[in-house]
Amino acid sequence: MVAKMVTTSTFIPRDHVKQVVYYEEYLRNDKMPTLWCSGCGDGLVMKALIRAVDEIAWDKDSVAIVSGIGCSGRMSSYLDFNTLHTPHGRTLPYATGLKLARPDSHVIIIAGDGDALAIGGNHFLHACRRNIDLTLIIINNFIYGLTGGQFSPTTPVGSYAQTSPDGALEPTFDTAKVAIAAGATYVARSTVSNPRHISEMIKGGLAHPGMAVVEVISNCHVNFGRRNVSGEPEELILWISRQTVSQNIAQYMDDDELSGRLVVGVLQHLKERPEYVASYYQKAAEIRGAED
């Protein structure tokens, strides 16, 4: 019975009442169309991000978008904020620098699973540990899409990829569990099967004064779906929907039932832990005060 419920009911927040969002106000419209394949989840995430920023009503000049390498890396060039497109895996060091230099700014990071968790894995752990006031959106499509479909740290075991023609051998990272263990104070997961939910999860991250990690399970039907589920975006999005279970339901499921499923929702929300940039400036003021 539970499994049937899972396939049909992903949590939709009822307090979502925002009416009209003028997306063009947040886009560099002369850069359209995007480089993304038709049906790519990156567009849904970009749209959800715009909705979240619109609802939180931040001044565009106060927001920086930092992206890395990969399909998602191109998102920074489409968004009309202060945008920084960095080398592979290095979004978090650049973002940390921006936030430390300008504590009053809002720094949002877009990274893929390969970018954030493989080459940038160490930065990921330590940004979470420091609890810096950043919002990291990890678009997890289970694959290195841009470079042709090599397996990534989140490729499900046994899945086929360009570099795992006989099925991926390596155990899979659980991004949210890693983030929580490393010390991130807001950790949420959503999927492209419910774009409004993505906005809510991102908005929670933006509002949170600490390290916020929002993992969005997305569809790369071209390089992941085609080899494993389906090359059609809607088929793959439905498959993703079946892999996930809302936290509201998951809390009534045992470990066996949860095995192989990704729980979506807010998975960690701690408000007590000190935020790094505030601590840094407080310490600096103390030292300067002691010198005077």
């Binding site: 000049d61 060039s77 202060n82 945008t83 920084l84 080398p87 921006l98």
Partner: protein
Amino acid sequence: MHDPIQLELFKNRFASIAEVPCVIVNVMRGGPSTGLPTLPSQGDIMQARWGTHGDHPIIALAPATLTETYWETIRAFNLSEQYRTPVILLIDEILGHMSERVELPDSSELEIVNRVKPEASPDEYLPYATANGSHVPPMADFFTGYRYHVTGLTHDVTGFPTEDPAISQTLVERLQAKIKDNLKHILKNEESDLEDAEIAVLAYGSVARAARVAIAQARETGLKAGLFRPVTLWPFPSAQVAALARRVKGILVPEMNMGQLVGEVERVAGATPVTSLNKANGQPISPTEIGVALSRMMEDL
């Protein structure tokens, strides 16, 4: 920085093309790999210049004393700001672990150069456009209303990625030109005892200190030697070294590596013989070793 991957990624790939002013300190130790972690070398001379993707110039400074390290650090920041380029302080580990007397000036005496800021309004601002004969585009700060795009990809004057062949070529040529056209300002050499010298020692960093002692000792025995010490290693002072080669009968290049900067000297020395003195065992080159090499060169001339 002892992480060559990070050094390569930031210095060479990103900071050069995005034109980010930054200073990177590389205190050179014995290699390859982890090599001789607390022992000196000058093994990264070519890595500083060529450990990279694609073509871009670099500025590298090699001070010889701690006082000079202080001043060259300031100069490194000033050059990086003025030309929007990474600058490498290429120090050998002898200086890195040295204690010596340093007199610091009052900070009001320091000349501090900052990047040029745009005069154009945010609507008219082209982040990578140059004007008035300068090769260096004015740089806006984030969060000041200039919502522009910074990328490590080849970009046009708007800052957005392009693969246009003509624009790509123009960008790479401008990156070259902003250093090449300002050699007079960037280069810095010290010359001593060269007026009547028959043999020049070209040495940099801490090796130049040993060379100075060796030259004084050689002059006591009647051997006319002098010192040419490049403080700016990159760009290499080709014209100055070529002029030097025309004045002397031979050039000795002692280096704590297996012969790196000597290649640049040979390239411009013409018919003047160039002798290399190399040591890559984690030990400094002594004045005696330089003195012996000078005597042998004199015998051969």
